[in-house]
Amino acid sequence: MGKNNDNNHIKRQPNKLNTFIKDYILLIVIIILIIVFSSINPAFIFIENIFYIIKQASILGFIALGLCLIVIIGEFDISLAAIPNFVAVVTIVLIKYDVSNTYILWTLGILTAIILSMVNSIFVVHIGVPSFIVTLGTQFSLTALSRALTMGGQVVHPPFIPAGFSVLGQGFLFSVIPVAVVIFLVGAAIILGIVEYTPFGRKLYAVGSDPDACNHVGIKVKSTKMKAFFITGVLYGIAGILMSSMFNSCSAAMGTVYLFPGIISVFLGATFLSTGYSNIRGTIVSAFFLSALVNGFATIGMPFFLRSIIQGLILLGAIGYQKFGKGKYEISTKV
């Protein structure tokens, strides 16, 4: 087939080494960072620290996966940290008021996140408000509400936490593997399966890439987007429960540490395997990368402001790199 191909717009194809570096740049950087951090402070590669990083990555991972779905359908969600934060506040406050049944706590936590995400989706999908604006509104309202529930932003620390509840964030499977990590790996595998290997996942990408073409092949844009917001709600809910059960407490600001890394994970993920668009695999890898990075900065004692600057540069670099490398990379958020 190749020989009688007569079109002249084929792009330049780089050699194998270049392609390899381009595809796996994220993993290469992770390895370099691990070497750098552990040579500065050997505590970085202590097994406890590594599990701590992975545990952190599981909360960040659920948040980033949730945002990733929204970005795939061509929208954006800035309430990615506020919703899990609110879920954490709700569960801890419920515990404080003597709700001790773990299943009820889980159900109510996840339900809260689903409802909030569906509120986002109604404004975005049915009323047609730009998603950035809607979710910015949700973010502010929820942060304020969290503050109200925590009596002006204090750390709420209930005297008694049901044992079944804290297992999620603090328990170990076979006394070595953190339960949170297992939950994340299972959750990530399910989301990966849904998004990359089912017709529904293909629809998500289709809706985000060309909504007009979707109408022409019988894909319902609105309901597909609603479903994405629903799944995102579930993921945010799990993230929120992990948060509260990991720390046995809550505050109105505990989610903010995930805000920026969550966004970066999704866009950095687009560089993984040179896909050029946000995808699940890349997001998972990036979430681990960012957890390691944040933890590494702390272990080598880097000043707080510098960490934020570096994170900002990574975000700009990831998007710029794609734009530069591909020449056609577009972030499909409508701001």
Binding site: N8, A213, N215, G218
Partner: protein, 511 residues
């Protein structure tokens, strides 16, 4: 001896640009292969060829976007090296692109002077801008509104402004890339008038087009490209259409259209009665038989496309009845239902309504059947079957897609091959009874057009009804069994194949 050399000198001066033995390679593809091409001063030189023949690469070399891998470029007899587009602009080469690059919320005059604004102190001098635009407009003898925002202007006016824009700095060579692609017959006449005025000023024009009749109407000379090579250059008056096509596609095309053997059955597959969907459709009644290729002809805005969108469930209506295969289509009818019932449509706007830019060839083909044909337990995709499914379709003899890899992105394919992918998307659906093709040959090379005509006839031979919508009357006359003529939301005439004639149709098309 001296006479000969001065003759040669004169000839040399007469050539404004010469491309000599130029080659351009892309990985795996020779885009231009040892091409020599020249344009005389003050001539209209048409460049024709199928998609991917090398026309655009040639223009990109002339305008300094690409550097040639081999060969030389001469500007007015002197060797030129355009390392940047700016170098070509500086000597007076202007290209008017196919896609519009105007700023919608600026006026015509502001767009014309964009980047070269007149200033009064630190502010723009709107009066001077308008004056300059007016001057250019009058010089070319056009009639466009300069004070209206571009977003309120018709496509033809926008195209004209795009051309006027080239005159803000004096051009010596103007390249027009498919300037007529979105214009009506009347607008094309006006455009040609303007092009002739430009020519009278001694400015050379390279006119790129698919449409041979336009090339014959406007150009002085023409060069035919095929597979990256310049195949033939001739004075337009000394070459005929068929010779031209022969050079373009390298096979003797005895007929532009396939033989029409009627397979029309008695049974109606679709009946539309007194359909009303204002403002486009006022009162339309049509019917289609199984095994029939039915043509819909009318000017842009006459209601053809809107009708097809209502039938396909993309648009609502106010009144009227639609019965498809004994099933009443009402306003709750959705495209998903249409596809399930074997009612398919290829949209007019391929880029916006058909192609998924994120997806490769395989995924663009499999998208409508993922759930019905390519899923296994737990709703997971059968990825291997998906590949086989797409491969069967693109390799089927009626499609014979030219591609490198099923994982190739569609933006690497020519217009004709893109359209084949879009058609292929529907070929795997087995219960098809009605296939609507809205402008299926728009922006497609002659060879692929012929293949699409054959495909439409093949579908009809299988008993499928085909509604063929087109603005190109000759192709409807060539392919259809029967046709309806539309005007301002009404059906003005129904014609059987034996009544087909261009005059008859036009009589009912125009008011």
């Amino acid at each position: 001896m001296s006479i000969e050399s001065s003759e040669k000198e004169k000839r040399k001066n007469n050539i404004i640009i010469k491309v000599e033995n130029v080659s351009k390679y892309f990985p795996g593809v020779v885009a231009l292969d040892d091409v020599t091409f020249e344009v005389k001063k003050g001539e209209i030189h048409a460049v024709v060829g199928e998609n991917g023949a090398g026309k655009s690469t040639l223009c990109n070399i002339i305008t300094g976007i690409y550097k040639p891998d081999k060969g030389r470029l001469y500007w007015k007899g002197k060797e030129a090296h355009f390392s940047l587009p700016k170098d070509a602009l500086d000597v007076g080469i202007r290209m008017v692109y196919q896609e519009r690059n105007l700023i919608p919320f600026l006026t015509g005059a502001q767009n014309i002077c964009l980047g070269n604004e007149f200033k009064k102190g630190i502010f723009t001098d709107e009066k001077a801008i308008y004056k300059k635009a007016l001057e250019i407009k009058e010089r070319l003898g056009t009639n466009v509104y300069l004070n209206e925002k571009v977003k309120n202007l018709s496509p033809s006016t926008r195209q004209m402004i795009e051309i006027l824009r080239a005159f803000i700095l004096e051009p010596e060579l103007l390249i027009l890339d498919e300037p007529t692609s979105s214009l009506s017959e009347g607008d094309i006449k006006v455009l040609f008038q303007v092009i002739n005025n430009i020519k009278k000023e001694g400015i050379s024009i390279i006119f790129i087009s698919h449409k041979l009749n336009e090339v014959f109407a406007i150009s002085d000379r023409l060069t035919i490209f095929r597979n990256g090579k310049s195949r033939h250059t001739a004075n337009t008056s000394e070459i005929d259409r068929n010779t031209c096509i022969k050079y373009m596609i390298n096979r003797d095309l005895k007929k532009t259209y396939p033989e029409v053997v009627s397979h029309v059955k008695k049974e109606k597959i679709l009946e539309v009665k007194n359909l009303k969907a204002l403002p486009e459709i006022k009162d339309v009644s049509i019917h289609v038989y199984k095994g029939e290729v039915l043509g819909l002809y009318g000017l842009v805005g006459s209601g053809r496309t809107e009708l097809s969108e209502i039938i396909y469930g993309l648009r609502k209506r106010q009144d009227g009845e639609i019965v498809y295969n004994n099933f009443a289509i009402n306003n709750d009818f959705y495209t998903e239902d249409a596809i399930k019932k074997g009612l398919l449509l290829i949209p007019e706007d391929r880029k916006e309504h058909a192609i998924f830019n994120l997806f490769n060839i395989k995924q663009n083909i499999s998208i409508p059947v993922l759930k019905s044909k390519l899923s296994k337990a737990f709703g997971l995709l059968k990825l291997k079957e998906e590949r086989d499914y797409a491969e069967d379709i693109v390799r089927s003899p009626s499609l014979s897609l030219k591609y490198r890899d099923l994982k190739q992105s569609l933006d690497q394919l020519s217009g004709g091959n893109k359209q084949k992918v879009i058609i292929g998307r529907w070929l795997g659906i087995k219960n098809t009874s009605l296939f609507i093709m809205d402008e299926p040959t728009q922006g497609i090379d002659v060879g692929t057009k012929y293949e699409i005509y054959i495909l439409a006839r093949e579908l009809a031979a299988k008993g499928i009804a085909v509604i063929f919508i087109s603005s190109e009357l000759p192709e409807l006359l060539g392919v259809c069994d029967r046709m309806y003529v539309f005007r301002f939301g009404y059906v003005t005439k129904e014609l059987q194949r034996n009544e087909f004639s261009e005059e008859e149709v036009l009589k009912y098309t125009l008011a």
